[in-house]
C-alpha cells in the first residue's frame, strides 16, 4: 500500500542568546520524495550534551550523518562552529569530531587491542590515554586479546566507546549510544559524556528510548517525526 505523505519533521529549538558554538540553519533532507527533515535549527554549545529524541525513521540518524558529511546535503545548509563555517568535508573540521553510528566501526577478526591500536594510529591518540587504559575504563580490561567478533553486543558497544575515549575530538556525534547496553553500560556512557563536557567538549546524541543522560548540562530536542 503506498505510504501516504506525512508532515515533514522539524526540530524546534529555543534560540537562546547564549554563546552559540555549533549552529545549524535551514537543514533539509528528502529521500524518495518523502521530506524527512525541514528547516532544522540546532545549536550545540561547548560543555553541553544535546539529546535528540524521536521514533525510528524520524530522521535522527540522517541528521547526524548529514552533519558528519556521510550523507551529502541536497540543499546546502549552514553549520558554523565558533563563528567559522563548519564543513564536514574539510580536514580542519574533520579533525574536531568523532562519530559513533549503529555500525560500530569494529573489525570482528581483530582483537580489541588491535581495533583500538588501529584507531590510535589512524585517528590519533590522546596523550593521556593508552589503549589498555581505554579498555579498562570501559570495563573490557580482560578482553584485550579476544576477537571483537566473539564479544557480546554490549561489550562491542563498550569497545566502540573506548575509541571515543582514546581519540581526541571536541565534538561527539553519537547515534543511539545507549542501544544494546545494560544499566551499567548506560552509566558508563554518562560518565564518558560527563568527562567529555567537563573538558569543554560537546556532544550531539540521538535516542528513541526513555533514558536521559545524567550529565551536568544537557538539553533535549524533539523531532516531531512525521506520522506514518
Amino acid at each position: 500500500m503506498m505510504k501516504p505523505l506525512g508532515q515533514p519533521a522539524s526540530i524546534a529549538t529555543p534560540s537562546g542568546p547564549r554563546k552559540t558554538l555549533l549552529q545549524v540553519h535551514s537543514l533539509f533532507f528528502q529521500r524518495n520524495q518523502l521530506t524527512i527533515l525541514e528547516n532544522v535549527q540546532l545549536t550545540l554549545d561547548a560543555g553541553e550534551v544535546v539529546l535528540i529524541r524521536g521514533e525510528n525513521g524520524s530522521g535522527k540518524s540522517t541528521l547526524i550523518r548529514l552533519l558528519t558529511g556521510l550523507v551529502p546535503a541536497q540543499e546546502p545548509f549552514e553549520v558554523s562552529l565558533d563563528g567559522e563555517r563548519f564543513d564536514p568535508g574539510d580536514p580542519r573540521c574533520q579533525v574536531q569530531f568523532q562519530y559513533l553510528g549503529h555500525n560500530l566501526g569494529l573489525k570482528d577478526n581483530l582483537t580489541c587491542a588491535e581495533n583500538l591500536k588501529f584507531y590510535a594510529d589512524f585517528l590519533g591518540r590522546r596523550a593521556d590515554v593508552t589503549v589498555q587504559g581505554a579498555l579498562n575504563a570501559c570495563g573490557l580490561d580482560g578482553y584485550q586479546y579476544s576477537e571483537a567478533g566473539r564479544l557480546s553486543a554490549g561489550q562491542r558497544k563498550r569497545l566502540a566507546l573506548a575509541r571515543l575515549l582514546l581519540c581526541p575530538a571536541r565534538i561527539w556525534f553519537l547515534d543511539e549510544p545507549y542501544s544494546n547496553l545494560d544499566a551499567e553500560g548506560i552509566t558508563l556512557v554518562d560518565r564518558l559524556l560527563q568527562r567529555h563536557i567537563s573538558e569543554d567538549g560537546r556532544a550531539l546524541m540521538t535516542s528513541h528510548g526513555t533514558f536521559v543522560p545524567q550529565v551536568s548540562n544537557h538539553r533535549e530536542l524533539e523531532i516531531d517525526g512525521w506520522t506514518p
Binding site: 515533514p8 524518495n32 520524495q33 521530506t35 551529502p72
Partner: protein
C-alpha cells in the same frame, strides 16, 4: 550573470525545464521527420549504386550515422553527468540517465547493421573488425551504466554513481579504441574498410549528412521526452508537477 548563464541557471529548475522542453519537442520532432524523409529518399532512391559494392552500400546511410550517434550520445551523457555531479543539478542528472538507453540503442543498431553489411562484403556476419569490436565494448559499457542506474534504489545516488561510471568509461573509450585498432591490425592486417576512405561521391555524401542530422534531432527530442517523464516521476509530490499533469493532491509539498 550574463544572459546565457542566467538561462542555463533557469534551465536547472525542474519546472522551467519541463515547460521549456515541452514547447521544444514538437519542433524537433517535425524537423527530424523532414530531414529523415529527405535523407532516406536521397539515399535509397536517388544515390547511384556503388561501383564496387553495388546497392549493399546503402546500409551506410544508417550504419555510419548510428555509429557517430553512439559516441555522440555517450559524450553528451558524460557532459550532463558532470554537470549533475559537480553542481548537483537534478535536471542534468536526469538528462544524462535519459540519454543512456538511446545511446545503447544506436550502438545496437550499429552492430546489427554492421553485421548485415559485413555478410555480403566479407562473407560472415561477425568479423573482429576493429570498429565493430570497439562498438561491442561500448555497448557493454552502456549496459553497465544503465544497469547501475536501475540497480541503486535512491534515484539521486543512482544517477551520481552511473554518471561516475560513464566518466570512467569515457576515459577508457579512446584507450579501448586504440588498443582494439592496434590488436586488429596485429592479427589480420588492415581489413578492407567498410566505409572506404576514398572520397565519397557528393550524391552519397548529402544523404549521409542528412541522416546524421536526423539522428541528432531524434536524440534531441527523445531525450527531452524521457527526461520530462523521469522528472515528473521524481517530482510527483511537488505541486508544480501535479498541476502540469492536471492532478491536485492534498498534502503535497510546495
Amino acid at each position: 550573470m550574463n544572459k546565457l548563464t542566467l538561462w542555463f541557471h533557469k534551465l536547472g529548475s525542474p519546472e522551467y525545464f519541463y515547460r521549456f522542453s515541452g514547447k521544444l519537442i514538437p519542433w524537433l520532432a517535425l524537423a527530424c521527420t523532414v530531414v529523415l524523409g529527405w535523407g532516406l529518399y536521397r539515399g535509397l532512391f536517388v544515390a547511384p549504386p556503388d561501383y564496387q559494392q553495388g546497392d549493399s552500400y546503402r546500409i551506410i546511410f544508417i550504419h555510419v550515422p548510428s555509429a557517430w550517434m553512439s559516441l555522440f550520445i555517450y559524450v553528451a551523457m558524460c557532459v550532463s553527468g558532470v554537470v549533475g555531479i559537480v553542481w548537483r543539478i537534478k535536471v542534468a542528472e536526469i538528462v544524462a540517465m535519459a540519454s543512456a538507453p538511446i545511446g545503447a540503442a544506436f550502438t545496437a543498431i550499429t552492430l546489427v547493421t554492421g553485421a548485415l553489411w559485413g555478410r555480403p562484403m566479407w562473407g560472415s556476419y561477425w568479423v573482429w573488425d576493429a570498429r565493430l569490436t570497439s562498438e561491442l565494448v561500448l555497448l557493454f559499457i552502456y549496459i553497465g551504466v544503465i544497469g547501475l542506474y536501475q540497480a541503486i534504489e535512491d534515484r539521486r545516488s543512482a544517477a551520481r554513481a552511473a554518471s561516475i561510471l560513464a566518466l570512467v568509461g569515457l576515459v577508457n573509450i579512446p584507450i579501448i579504441h586504440f588498443s582494439v585498432e592496434w590488436w586488429a591490425t596485429l592479427h589480420q592486417g588492415s581489413t578492407v574498410n567498410l566505409m572506404g576512405e576514398n572520397a565519397i561521391h557528393p550524391s552519397m555524401l548529402w544523404p549521409l549528412l542528412a541522416m546524421a542530422l536526423a539522428t541528432k534531432l531524434f536524440y534531441a527530442f527523445n531525450v527531452l521526452q524521457r527526461a520530462r517523464v523521469m522528472l515528473l516521476d521524481q517530482e510527483s509530490n511537488k505541486r508544480w508537477a501535479q498541476r502540469a499533469i492536471g492532478l491536485d493532491m492534498p498534502g503535497s509539498a510546495a
